[in-house]
């Protein structure tokens, strides 16, 4: 059986992900943890799982770039960085909670939200560069359309009524505004990717479709977190969120795999 480099990369990513998941169960719960040991380990293991899935997806995206011109490589790097930040950003929230690091300056001064802000921008600018390269004409490529739309949506989201939260009102509104920011940027990226699908040749159809599915997952997850936060006054957490984020990681992994395979004719 012949195994190509792309498939070896998938195997390596799967191995590292499962190893990371298993090793999480060996880490002792910190004294500050006030739930069961099982709850600590499943929470930690799930966050390690979806972080490594997102990182693996980025590795696969980057493993195929040698076949492409510099401009597309740059677009790929932006998208891959965005995907890493999505997984890493979500995981850091879990780490900060379980290791009781909520009072650190990183959280107090809003650094914790930075990965989500940058992830949306990186994925949007990556897909926008790709769309520009292959000559896609769309209003979603126009920064003078997307930026005002983004600002309007962020303002509306931060003004929406919500359940009382234990967080200060300003912090709560900013966190929701960032979820809204991501919904708009992922949705704009999705629109561009769907336009690319009709614009490019059959060779790229599968890869672009899987990227569209991955972005649909991101739009869904961000919207779910936003609505869940507004309805309950706290960001949704637990097995359901862990599962949909892990599925989101798997979708990007498949998209990365499909992109890596486009280098083969």
């Amino acid at each position: 059986m012949v195994m190509n480099t792309t498939f070896k990369t998938v195997l390596a990513v799967t191995f590292v992900t499962l190893l990371g998941y298993a090793v999480s169960f060996l880490i002792p719960a910190p004294p500050s943890w006030n739930d069961t040991s099982l709850a600590f380990h499943t929470t930690l293991a799930n966050s390690v799982l979806y972080t490594l899935l997102h990182v693996g997806a980025a590795v696969l995206f980057l493993s195929g770039i040698s076949a492409y011109k510099a401009a597309l490589r740059s677009a790929y790097v932006k998208i891959a960085s965005g995907i890493v930040l999505v997984g890493g950003g979500l995981a850091q929230v879990v780490f900060l909670n379980i290791f009781d690091l909520i009072q650190t300056p990183w959280v107090q001064y809003g650094g914790v939200m930075l990965p989500f802000v940058v992830a949306g921008l990186a994925i949007y600018f990556g897909t926008r560069s790709m769309a520009a390269l292959i000559g896609v004409r769309s209003v979603l490529r126009n920064i003078w359309f997307v930026a005002p739309l983004l600002i309007v949506c962020v303002i509306i989201v931060s003004l929406l009524p919500h359940k009382p939260s234990s967080l200060p009102e300003l912090v709560f509104d900013i966190s929701n505004a960032i979820s809204g920011w991501d919904v708009v940027l992922y949705a704009a990226s999705l629109g561009l990717v769907l336009k690319m699908r009709t614009h490019s040749g059959a060779h790229y159809a599968s890869a672009i479709s899987w990227l569209a599915i991955g972005l649909t997952g991101s739009v869904f997850i961000s919207t779910y977190i936003l609505i869940g936060t507004l309805l309950s006054g706290a960001a949704p957490a637990g097995i359901l969120v862990d599962s949909i984020v892990a599925i989101g990681g798997l979708l990007y992994l498949k998209a990365g795999y499909s992109f890596a395979r486009t280098k083969e004719l």
């Binding site: 059986m1 190509n4 498939f7 492409y68 011109k69 292959i134 040749g201 083969e264 004719l265």
Partner: protein, 117 residues
């Protein structure tokens, strides 16, 4: 098992035995389809004229070789995301088809170009 085979093996490198499939496959590699739109339209026109399973006429085959050579040139010089090379593209053709293509390229294509000039 088909899923596993698909995942485990390198991308199925289909070998084209006729000029129509070769031109269509080459067109599929273009990242910007609008740049080769007239060539794709011409390929579709020839495809619609020749009914399923029938042999291409020599004139149709030559027209498709001409289309293929233009798409190949586009892929090698102007595709915005990737630079293809002649060998990897022509490896998609069977030995017989490639030999007819190269015969057309060396003998008939220059004549066709002279006529159009």
């Amino acid at each position: 098992m088909v899923v596993f085979k698909n995942v485990l093996s390198p991308r199925q490198s289909e070998i084209m035995t006729n000029a129509l499939d070769l031109a269509k496959t080459a067109a599929g590699f273009a990242s910007n389809q609008s740049a080769i739109e007239p060539l794709v339209a011409e390929t579709k026109q020839i495809s619609n004229q020749s009914y399923f399973g029938s042999q291409l006429s020599p004139a149709d085959e030559q027209a498709l070789f001409n289309i293929y050579l233009q798409i190949e040139k586009y892929l090698m010089t102007a595709d915005p995301i990737r630079t293809f090379n002649k060998e990897e593209l022509r490896n998609k053709a069977s030995v017989g088809l490639r030999s007819r293509l190269e015969n057309y390229e060396h003998n008939l294509a220059p004549l066709a170009n002279q006529l159009t000039v």
